[in-house]
């Protein structure tokens, strides 16, 4: 089965690695900006899709299908983002006689409509947040504004990735927020349908990984916690979620499996819940694809989720029974982004002139980086994922901290220091956080900051001096070395 990976960056490399591990021939696709990208060099073949804008390349359905046809690929893995949640794409792939590595098109369509997914979850007996089952307009909002419990969220039914969501704090704000959310949803998803959902205060984001065979059998591969978010973007994820009781976990897994069975779910999926202060779960949505944060589940289950997807897509049955799924230890992932915390987390670009990825016991790095790579503003800002496994959560945190300190990316601003600050913060270490943790996050000044800055100033002056002195510098450097040397003896 020749597999075409309709994606780029770390997830394309991740999927191509699984293809290699299974001995499957692979095809990468690329846009003009990605002509030399690592994923094109990792695959057996690489096919050009189109110009740099995603709409003309990675989102261009005819181009992707044509690449599959030209390369003789028999199956398409969409990764996450791009076309992964596009039911029309999944259908077009199947109509072309190819295998879509993911849920059935109708499942993708259903999960893509948040109101429909909510109805399906409720029908399957899952706890769902109260709220009307119908789309909201400004007129309806005005009618019901006084009956709503505030604060309340206005959410796009086609939403995803934290976009198309607005918070209304009181009846006066509601109509305006409906307008704002509809406008953003229209721009982002081409669909301005929105609905109401109560805001769960101090909520934790807990999600369950499921794997289905499409014939009613569902495996539940444990949960992940993704409460560490900045502007609704997950930043640090872990498995398992800390502090859940056995009863909570049993409830969660049962709920996830139930909705999976109800949908006859095929391939990987994630059932997302909010956990409120009182310990109750509320279904929010289903993500019908591999998640960015899947490595933490792989680390605690010992499974290779992409390999399982590929095996199922090749027509094999589910390999495991639920009782054979054993969870071991704890794993935490941090997302290394090309965003500059010192400049309000604005996207950063540049050439990665220097790169040193971390290693050693318990560390896994997923990236598509290489020294010399240019980070452009064309796609998203995820550079790498660092995941750490430990016998328990505390051990995983310490290893993650070690790995973040080892990671060196020169030439482009990243959030590495910010990730370190989170990982080193006592509330995070104590597991005392919810999805609003980063809203109020104000790390103390790092120990030794003044000395480090002085040393950095000195080092920069020395390099500038040597640059100026040109040929002289070797000589002077040797003088320097001799001095330092003498002082150590």
């Amino acid at each position: 089965m020749k597999v075409l990976v309709a994606n780029r960056g770390e997830i394309a490399v991740r999927i191509l690695r699984a293809c290699r591990d299974l001995g499957l021939p692979s095809v990468a696709v690329y846009s003009e900006a990605d002509r030399e990208a690592l994923h094109t060099r990792y695959a057996d073949e690489a096919v050009y899709l189109g110009p740099t804008p995603a709409a003309q390349s990675y989102l261009n359905i005819p181009a992707v299908l044509d690449a599959a046809r030209r390369s003789g690929a028999r199956a398409i893995h969409p990764g996450y983002g791009f076309l992964s949640e596009n039911a029309d794409f999944a259908r077009a792939v199947e109509d072309a006689g190819l295998t879509f590595i993911g849920p059935r098109p109708e499942t993708i369509a259903l999960t893509g409509d948040k109101l429909a997914a909510r109805r399906a979850a409720r029908d399957a007996g899952l706890p769902v947040l109260p709220g009307p089952d119908t789309p909201l307009t400004e007129a309806i909002a005005a009618d019901m504004a006084m009956q709503v419990q505030y604060p309340v969220l206005v959410k796009a039914t086609a939403g995803g990735g934290g976009r198309g969501i607005r918070l209304a704090r009181n009846p006066d704000e509601l109509a305006a927020m409906v307008t704002a959310a509809r406008k953003e949803a229209q721009a982002a998803f081409g669909d301005d349908t929105v609905y109401l959902e109560p805001l769960v205060q101090r909520a934790r984001h807990i999600e369950v990984q499921i794997l289905g065979d499409g014939a009613g059998r569902i495996l539940c591969l444990g949960e992940r916690e993704c409460s560490i978010q900045r502007r609704r973007q997950k930043l640090i994820e872990e498995a398992p979620a800390h502090g859940l009781s056995a009863a909570q976990r049993a409830f969660l897994y049962d709920a996830a499996a139930r909705v999976g069975r109800a949908l006859g779910y095929r391939s990987l999926g994630t059932v997302e819940f909010l956990l409120d202060e009182r310990g109750a779960f509320h279904f929010i949505e289903i993500n019908p694809r591999i998640q960015v944060e899947h490595p933490v589940t792989e680390m605690i289950t010992g499974l290779d989720l992409v390999k399982e997807q590929l095996r199922l897509a090749a027509g094999r049955p589910l390999r495991l029974v639920q009782d054979a799924v054993e969870l071991r230890g704890a794993a935490i992932e941090a997302r290394v982004l090309a965003e500059d915390p010192q400049a309000g987390f604005l996207p950063a670009t540049g050439n990665i002139a220097h790169l040193k990825e971390p290693g050693g016991p318990g560390i896994r790095v997923d990236s598509a980086l290489y020294a010399g790579m240019t980070v452009t503003a064309d796609y998203d800002s995820l550079l790498a994922k660092v995941s750490a496994w430990g016998e328990n959560r505390a051990g995983a945190i310490l290893r993650l901290r070690r790995a973040l300190r080892e990671f060196q990316i020169g030439g482009v601003a990243t959030d590495l220091e910010f990730l370190l600050q989170i990982v080193e913060s006592p509330p995070f270490q104590a597991g005392n956080f919810d999805t609003t943790y980063l809203d109020k996050f104000d790390p103390p000044e790092a120990r030794g900051k003044a000395a480090l800055e002085r040393d950095a100033a000195l080092a920069a002056a020395l390099v500038a001096h040597r640059k100026k002195s040109g040929a002289l510098h070797r000589q002077e450097e040797n003088a320097w070395r001799t001095i330092a040397w003498r002082e150590q003896m």
């Binding site: 090309a338 965003e339 010192q342 400049a343 309000g344 604005l346 996207p347 950063a348 670009t349 002139a353 220097h354 040193k356 020294a371 503003a377 064309d378 796609y379 998203d380 800002s381 973040l404 300190r405 990671f407 060196q408 990316i409 020169g410 030439g411 601003a413 990243t414 590495l416 220091e417 370190l420 790092a446 030794g448 900051k449 480090l452 800055e453 002085r454 040393d455 950095a456 100033a457 000195l458 080092a459 920069a460 002056a461 020395l462 390099v463 500038a464 001096h465 640059k467 100026k468 002077e476 450097e477 003088a479 320097w480 070395r481 001095i483 330092a484 002082e487 150590q488």
Partner: protein, 164 residues
């Protein structure tokens, strides 16, 4: 002896370098910086402590310094002349706060704008950002059109107080 003025954030350091020693703000420092390769990786040695320092010269005398998981931008002013950390931008000069694509331009030269009025929208890595007028005034210059790719720091618009 050479003197450098190095700015990091709000702080400025005076670094004096001779063949045999360095002084930072007048204080002698025993340290040693040795390149490990040609890409900017160095070892910074001070007392019994060896540290990886990555130094990357960028435009305008700015050095990116990575050390111990932190990233610092150090601006080195030429010997004997103070660095100007703020640059020469005037109030009302709107520069690109990030690299990206100009997706919308809502003004043209000569327009009068209100404070907080959206002048244009930039997009980078799937994130959109509105650039707003810092005060009411008139558009004196506009360097880009929708569809343009801009670098961080590029001057996009000049707003000046209206001179009716």
């Amino acid at each position: 002896m050479s003197i450098y003025y190095v700015s990091i954030g709000e702080r400025e350091y005076n670094v004096q370098i001779t063949n045999s020693h360095v002084l930072v703000d007048g204080e002698p420092i025993k340290a040693d910086l040795t390149p490990l390769n040609e890409n900017g990786l160095h070892v910074f040695r001070q007392g019994n402590c060896n540290r990886d320092f990555y130094l990357n010269p960028q435009a305008q005398g700015i050095y990116e310094v990575l050390a111990e998981g932190r990233r610092v931008l150090a601006r080195v002013g030429p010997a004997g002349r103070r660095a100007n950390a703020k640059g020469a931008a005037q109030a009302g000069d709107i520069v690109a706060p990030m690299p990206g694509l100009v997706v919308m331009v809502g003004i043209k030269v000569g327009d009068c704008v209100e404070a907080e009025q959206v002048l244009m929208v930039l997009e980078s890595m799937k994130m959109q950002m509105q650039l707003k007028a810092p005060f009411a005034g008139q558009v004196k210059q506009l360097t880009v059109a929708a569809g343009a790719q801009v670098e961080k720091g590029a001057l996009l618009v000049k707003i000046r107080e209206a001179t009716e």
